[in-house]
């Protein structure tokens, strides 16, 4: 068999192998245990919990650091909330009075607290987006992952404006335009309207993923800093449940929602 015939046979074999692989790639794109989707994107789909989940089971809440941070002068006082003992001030998302200004409790966790939630979260990756549905307080995010820049003239919101892209094996999400508020309930740390967050989700194994959070807030810090790297665990057998703060305790007289109690008191 001459060299030309050998090369021809090899070509048929190689081309056939590639073609056959192409025919086979169109299978299940988002099976949770696969590290990559068919198009090469890291597979983040499924129901996940982070380390805060186990902490909550032990009565603890995830908290960010309070000290040893690149503070600007006065930055520490802005970052660390001074507690007053008034739950409406200290933990607005759980406790609040009905006020004449029309403000109720059950404020959303917002960013970055939502990303650090102890509750389960379900991630989806439809074309062009990363969807994150958080179990707690029925909050969710729709993140375009096409690398677009932030829109201009954004109105600050609790969850801010998130845009993202895939960078190798990382899903990178950039969030700005976050309303000033609390960064973590467990630590009572605050953020200003200049807050800027970068999340890096990296699939590390059949049932694991890490979330690295970078925090930047030029009004408080001299430079960005990595707040932590949290390990997340996949639970393919779970379904996220409906989470409501608004009716908390309404059917149990011993656990009456503060808002309703206050309203009923004023209506007598």
């Amino acid at each position: 068999m001459n060299a030309r015939l050998i090369s021809s046979v090899l070509c048929v074999g190689i081309c056939g192998t590639i073609g056959g692989a192409l025919m086979g790639q169109s299978g299940n794109q988002s099976s949770g245990s696969k590290l990559r989707m068919a198009d090469g994107r890291p597979n983040l789909s499924g129901v996940w919990v982070n380390t805060g989940f186990k902490k909550l089971a032990n009565g603890m809440l995830e908290r960010l650091p309070s000290a040893n941070l690149p503070f600007k002068p006065g930055g520490s006082d802005q970052w660390n909330l001074k507690l007053t003992g008034d739950p409406h001030h200290d933990r607005p998302m759980f406790h609040a009075r009905v006020t004449k200004e029309g403000d109720f409790g059950c404020r959303p966790p917002g960013m970055p607290q939502s990303a650090l939630t102890a509750n389960a979260q379900q991630l989806f990756q439809p074309a062009g987006y990363l969807l994150i549905v958080y179990e707690g307080i029925h909050s969710s995010r729709m993140i375009p992952m096409d690398g677009r820049p932030h829109s201009a003239d954004l109105e600050p919101t609790y969850l801010g404006d998130s845009v993202g892209r895939y960078d190798g094996d990382v899903a990178l999400v950039d969030t700005t335009a976050v309303r000033p508020g609390m960064s973590d309930v467990g630590g009572h740390h605050m953020h200003s309207d200049a807050a800027h967050y970068i999340e890096r989700y990296r699939r590390t194994g059949p049932s694991t993923m890490t979330l690295e959070l970078t925090i930047d807030d030029p009004k408080m810090f001299t430079k960005p800093w990595v707040a932590g790297t949290w390990k997340m665990e996949l639970h393919p057998e779970w379904t996220i449940m409906e989470g409501n703060c608004e009716d908390r305790g309404l059917d149990d007289p011993d656990k009456q929602d503060f808002r309703l109690l206050d309203y009923l008191h004023h209506s007598k």
């Binding site: 200004e101 403000d103 109720f104 989806f124």
Partner: protein, 277 residues
């Protein structure tokens, strides 16, 4: 003398090249199967979304009030009393108009509100983001059965499947709740019980339209299911009593915005009751 056929190198390479060139077409076959799923993704305005004054302010929406106004409900004995909301003897939003306290709209009321909804179709699911009160429904679309024993909640347990050109979603497991607007809304204040069972059919009808049909069943109230969203169904979702055929409209240029009831909730009736004390 017969010449022996000796294929040239190019001829030998041909099958491999053909396979390489045309394989993506075969790889698309499961994509074509995926493509057979009706595309209902995007930002949709609901049947209750109406422009306030099309001539003067063509882009200004009006809050459509949801109410059901049939004349021939298939009530079972005693069903009609369960169908109407029972008001407190003393005004109490908890029972009379719970959304004043930012309690959830629940399903199916949420699906009929005038705010927009963003549909996504990740593999195996239909995920609907509702702008009003930022609720999300995650609906498995693989034809699975309902899970038994789940606690009832405001949005119930939904499962679905694709049937031809329709997405069909079946929901049970709901808390007894209001089906439409409460409080002082005329023709509103309809309730369902824990036996409430709803079937939605979303069917793409054009480049920017989708029909929405809702089958309502509650064996505690009705003798049989009945349908909304079709012609002559007498289910109104428009304060101006608009068309009975429910059509959703696609708005590719829109994004749903963050909306929280808990802030700036300046309902006049609620604040008046507070300020008078």
């Amino acid at each position: 003398m017969t010449e022996r056929f000796v294929p040239k190198r190019g001829f030998l390479m041909l099958p491999g090249v053909l396979l390489l060139v045309f394989a993506p077409m075969f790889a698309q076959t499961p994509q074509a199967k995926q493509g057979a799923v009706p595309d209902i993704s995007g930002v949709w305005s609901t049947p209750g979304f109406r422009h306030f004054d099309r001539e003067k302010i063509p882009d200004s929406p009006v809050i459509g009030l949801t109410r059901f106004n049939r004349k021939d409900y298939p009530f079972r004995p005693g069903g009609e009393s369960l169908w109407k909301r029972e008001f407190s003897t003393k005004p109490n939003p908890r029972t009379d108009d719970p959304q004043l306290l930012c309690l959830p709209w629940g399903f199916p009321h949420q699906s009929l509100l005038s705010n927009v909804q963003h549909f996504f179709q990740p593999e195996g699911y239909l995920v609907i983001f509702y702008e009003d009160m930022h609720y999300t429904r995650v609906i498995p679309m693989d034809g699975r059965e309902h899970v038994k024993g789940l606690p009832p909640d405001y949005y119930g347990h939904a499962v679905g499947r694709y049937e031809g050109d329709s997405a069909v979603v079946d929901t049970i497991g709901l808390k007894p709740w209001g089906l439409d607007d409460g409080g002082a809304v005329p023709d509103g204040n309809h309730m369902f019980t824990s036996a409430g069972h709803f079937i939605e059919r979303f069917r793409r009808t054009g480049p920017s339209t989708m029909s929405y049909e809702l089958t309502i069943d509650d064996p505690n109230i009705f003798t049989k299911p009945w349908v909304c969203g079709t012609k002559d169904s007498h289910c109104f979702v428009d304060g101006n009593r608009g068309p009975e055929e429910w059509i959703m409209r696609l708005h590719p240029e829109w994004e749903i915005i963050e909306q929280y009831c808990e802030e700036n909730n300046k309902d006049p009736g609620l604040l008046e009751s507070l300020s008078s004390k």
